[in-house]
């Protein structure tokens, strides 16, 4: 079953229906021509269909399994979002086509910008960043541009809590900033004293998520905002956890100046086995002049609404372009459809039920004996279980539980993140899962611990997957990154 498509290749085999009728040779000078023949597979259409259909079946996915992967918001991806985004008029539209031939598309984009503003409480939205990390980049670049525009040239430090996602510090570095790590208090909130000590004239800003990746809402957020603002810094909101608060609290109201949203999380565009996503950014009034382009504008024209792009020279302080065209337009269309289907009340409800599911699962797991990282706190839409006792006493690590769960037909929660909680599982059920699924998951978790207590080792789990546990060390040491036929 592990046969590669290349191993099915035979000289001269073709999927003939896919080749345009053959033509003569091209008028390309000898020196520029390709002479070798790259070894792409030579296979029939049926072979391709069968190969990739079968491969697909070796994946876990939302459509087949429960996926309580903390920080990732693996919720149901409505099928309609996909098909509507692929309607010929959308899928076939050239990115450089004139706005006269894009009013329908642009209307969706404009309305999406407006809805995202409403949900986040920000003043402006640019849809162009192609994933959360690119949204972060845009945000930090805007913060830099803001300070620079004010002549405040020394501010090159970005404060990042130790619980932050890896993209936060990596982004700061990409922007040429220095990262200052901030410790977390024992209750999961930011250590206010440490924050006060950290801010100063070099502070460009702070990158936060709230609720944080620890699964708790930072109760001191208003004070945090004040401290940072008073020190002259700006607040960046990592919107990966927006699903927890959508329609309940808005980053803009908390005091954030800039935010990215992972539309592939909160607004349910699919993760696609690794992407594409979208990291639309929202800004408060201070950062409006610096937004990345392009941005869609609506004007009244002959009594009707007319959509076009804000021209580059109308936003001269913009941090510029982040993609060849306008970002992941097709992803944005999916998010638009999703938001319209969920609607005003649904926006709030998704946060409420995501939170209900997380708190329920947290309570149930606690009741069957798992240790919570923050037992005194409400869960947000996710929460953390730590297996430090199990690891010590029955040699059952977070990794073991993760792999054992696969054999129960559940995807593993996020493991070993955030880094500050030992042997942790970050669990996010999302609002689209039913109570029965959560109850069954608790049963599986309980069974694993019970078996481990009975002496069973899960070091060799999983047993029922297409492969057994893989040798990652060998993968890194004996790099095999592409198939080259023997000889």
């Amino acid at each position: 079953m592990k046969t590669l498509i290349f191993e099915k290749s035979r000289n001269g085999r073709r999927a003939f229906a896919q080749a345009p009728s053959s033509v003569d040779d091209a008028a390309i000078p000898e020196a520029l021509r390709r002479k070798d023949t790259p070894r792409l597979p030579e296979v029939s259409e049926l072979q391709v269909v069968r190969h990739y259909t079968r491969l697909s079946r070796q994946n876990f996915s939302i459509d087949t399994q429960f996926y309580p992967l903390g920080s990732c918001t693996m919720k149901y991806n409505p099928r309609a979002c996909n098909s509507l985004a692929l309607l010929p008029g959308f899928a076939g539209r050239h990115p450089l086509g004139p706005v006269s031939h894009g009013q329908g598309f642009l209307a969706c984009m404009y309305e999406l910008q407006e809805m995202l503003k409403a949900v986040t409480g920000m003043q402006g939205v640019s849809l162009t960043p192609m994933a959360g990390a690119q949204g972060e980049l845009a945000g930090v670049l805007m913060i830099q541009a803001y300070h620079k525009a004010r002549g405040d040239l020394e501010r090159n430090e970005i404060i990042v809590p130790d619980a932050a996602h890896g993209t936060n510090p990596a982004t700061a570095t990409m922007c040429g900033c220095v990262v200052r790590e901030l410790p977390t208090g024992s209750d999961g909130d930011i250590d206010i004293a440490a924050l006060k000590a950290a801010v100063g004239p070099k502070t460009a800003g702070i990158m936060l998520t709230n609720p944080s990746t620890l699964g708790v809402f930072d109760r001191g957020i208003v004070e945090v905002a004040k401290i940072v603002h008073d020190a002259g810094g700006l607040l960046y909101y990592d919107g990966a956890n927006l699903n927890a608060i959508c329609g309940k609290v808005r980053p803009g109201d908390m005091g954030f100046d800039v935010i990215h949203m992972n539309l592939h999380k909160t607004f349910s565009t699919p993760h696609g086995g690794g992407g594409p996503g979208s990291g639309a950014v929202g800004v408060g009034s201070r950062l409006l002049p610096f937004m990345p382009i392009p941005i869609v504008r609506a004007t009244e024209r002959d009594g009707a609404t007319w959509y076009d792009w804000i021209a580059e020279d109308e936003l001269p302080q913009s941090i510029g372009r982040l993609s060849g065209f306008m970002g992941n337009a097709g992803v944005l269309l999916r998010a638009y459809v999703y938001m319209r289907m969920v609607g005003r009340d649904g926006m709030r409800r998704l946060a409420e039920y995501a939170t209900l599911n997380a708190n329920y699962l947290q309570a149930r797991l606690r009741d069957v004996g798992f240790q919570l990282a923050f037992p005194k706190r409400r869960a947000s839409h996710e929460f953390i279980v730590t297996l430090k006792h199990e690891a010590r006493e029955i040699n059952l690590t977070a990794m073991d539980v993760a792999k054992a769960l696969l054999d129960h037909n559940y995807h593993a929660p996020t493991t070993y993140f955030p880094l500050l909680v030992p042997e942790c599982l970050l669990i996010e059920p999302t609002e689209t899962e039913s109570k029965e699924t959560l109850d069954n998951f608790v049963a599986a978790m309980t069974a694993i611990v019970t078996e481990a207590k009975g002496g069973k080792s899960f070091k060799e789990a999983p047993y029922t997957m297409p492969v057994r546990r893989l040798d990652d060390v060998k993968a890194a040491r004996q790099l095999d990154l592409a198939f080259r036929p023997p000889g």
Partner: protein
């Protein structure tokens, strides 16, 4: 409540298990003054039926114009099997393959993709994708700075044919790290790099785009050797489809390019207003540890059977954090799945047929267009499937007139028009364009054409 499965009983039982009396209780750690009560900016929910009708109307609203625009995104026929399979739930709704044992489908697909794209570009290793071609150049520039330790200038040279938007994106993304981008001078006849070049002090890399943005074919061998002689790495920016006809970056000059990046869109990805596409990146083996993005490797499992897993993760943000090669996390995975299926379906011979047909359609279009009065080529020399032409009328006004007749006539370069006819165009389409343009050019007042 769309997509929320809870019954009233469920909610009640769950709250009881939590020990909360209402859902609102679960939000009681949030400062009360921050809670909002309603979301006026979001309209009430639509059913799937209602949103479907709305979207169908919007998608139909702009017609289906005949499109001769390229400029970095190309209309190609996409075999139906590509997206039928890529949108199977198991590919579509899966996460990043961090749990390798439960993600062999995606992992093997990426491994096959890495193989195909390295074969196509003639380089050793590939990552699992970047966001798009333009941001790919930014990442390649940063990577070159890390790889070319000797060159400390931060100077990246750009051949004249590099897509201006790619430069803008590279400046925006990589610009804060003391990297500068400089254009080499152009030969006004060929549109390619000038004959006499001066590399300046220790350039980090030279970026060569082939085919060039205005549609010329650059002398890549000469430029590559020149760059290497000056201690610079060579970053190739290529259209992957063109590699069915044109020399692979790995074979440029004596030593070959060091890094190749480009827009993966021509490999089975719909135009879709500009995305999602994917940026590909391949390089020589020696640079692999400087590569940004995910990489899949083949290894073995406990029973010594082959299997696939993400590897060299120590380069990435989730491990290396502020010292990572890039901040990229979510990439364009599904597009890579589609491109892999596309390449498998076409094979090299199929790609060659598509490329040949596109080349010849464009040749036909150009030969007919340049018969019109006042229309001539901007640059001499061979081309792939895109060519710049001059008109003796204002380009924007001509394009407007064409658009009113549902023909998107090309990309406005300011002083010229960049036109493209891929394999999707028939002779009838080409004649329609030519005849319509003849008509328009014959009109005095273009606003009435």
């Amino acid at each position: 409540m769309p997509f929320i499965p809870h019954t009233e009983d469920d909610t009640r039982e769950m709250l009881a298990a939590i020990g909360a009396s209402s859902i609102d209780d679960l939000f009681d750690e949030i400062p009360q003054q921050l809670l909002i009560r309603s979301l006026d900016g979001v309209p009430p929910a639509l059913s799937e039926m209602e949103i479907s009708r709305l979207m169908r109307e919007r998608a139909a609203q702009d017609g289906a114009p005949l499109c001769f625009i390229g400029a970095g995104a190309y209309e190609h026929h996409i075999p139906q099997a590509v997206w039928d399979i890529a949108t199977r739930g198991e590919y579509y709704s899966a996460y990043t393959p961090y749990q390798a044992e439960a993600s062999q489908g995606t992992l093997q697909t990426i491994y096959e993709y890495q193989t195909m794209i390295t074969e196509l570009t003639g380089l050793d290793v590939s990552n699992a994708s970047l966001y798009d071609g333009a941001s790919g150049l930014a990442e390649a520039s940063l990577m070159a700075v890390r790889s070319n330790r000797k060159a400390k200038s931060g100077r990246i040279l750009l051949a004249p044919g590099v897509n201006p938007n790619y430069e803008k994106v590279a400046v925006a993304i990589a610009g804060s790290q003391n990297i500068t981008f400089e254009r080499l001078p152009m030969n006004a006849v060929t549109g390619n790099a000038a004959d006499q070049l001066d590399a300046g002090t220790s350039p980090v890399a030279l970026v060569i785009q082939q085919p060039s943005f205005p549609g010329t074919l650059e002398d890549v061998d000469r430029l590559t050797d020149w760059a290497h002689e000056n201690g610079a790495l060579v970053i190739a920016v290529v259209n992957p489809l063109s590699l069915a006809l044109l020399k692979a970056p790995g074979s440029w000059g004596t030593k070959g390019a060091d890094i190749a990046v480009g827009e993966g869109q021509p490999l089975g990805i719909p135009l879709s207003s500009g995305g999602p596409y994917f940026g590909f990146m391949t390089c020589r083996q020696e640079h692999v540890r400087q590569m940004p993005g995910r990489i899949v490797g083949r290894t073995t499992d406990l029973e010594d059977n082959p299997g696939f897993t993400l590897t060299l993760q120590a380069r990435e943000q989730h491990i290396r954090r502020s010292k990572a090669t890039s901040n990229i996390c979510t990439n364009q995975g599904l597009m890579v799945t589609a491109a892999t299926i596309y390449m498998a379906l076409l094979g090299f011979e199929g790609l060659r047929q598509v490329a040949l047909r596109a080349q010849q359609n464009t040749a036909l279009l150009i030969s007919k267009l340049t018969e019109l009065p006042g229309v001539r080529r901007l640059y001499e020399g061979p081309h792939f499937h895109e060519v710049s032409i001059r008109l003796d009328r204002p380009i924007a006004a001509v394009l407007d007139a064409l658009a009113r007749r549902d023909i998107l006539g090309g990309y406005d370069l300011g002083d010229a028009l960049l036109v493209c006819a891929t394999e999707t165009k028939t002779e009838v389409d080409i004649d329609l364009y030519v005849d319509t343009l003849r008509d328009i050019l014959a009109t005095r007042d273009l606003r009435r054409a």
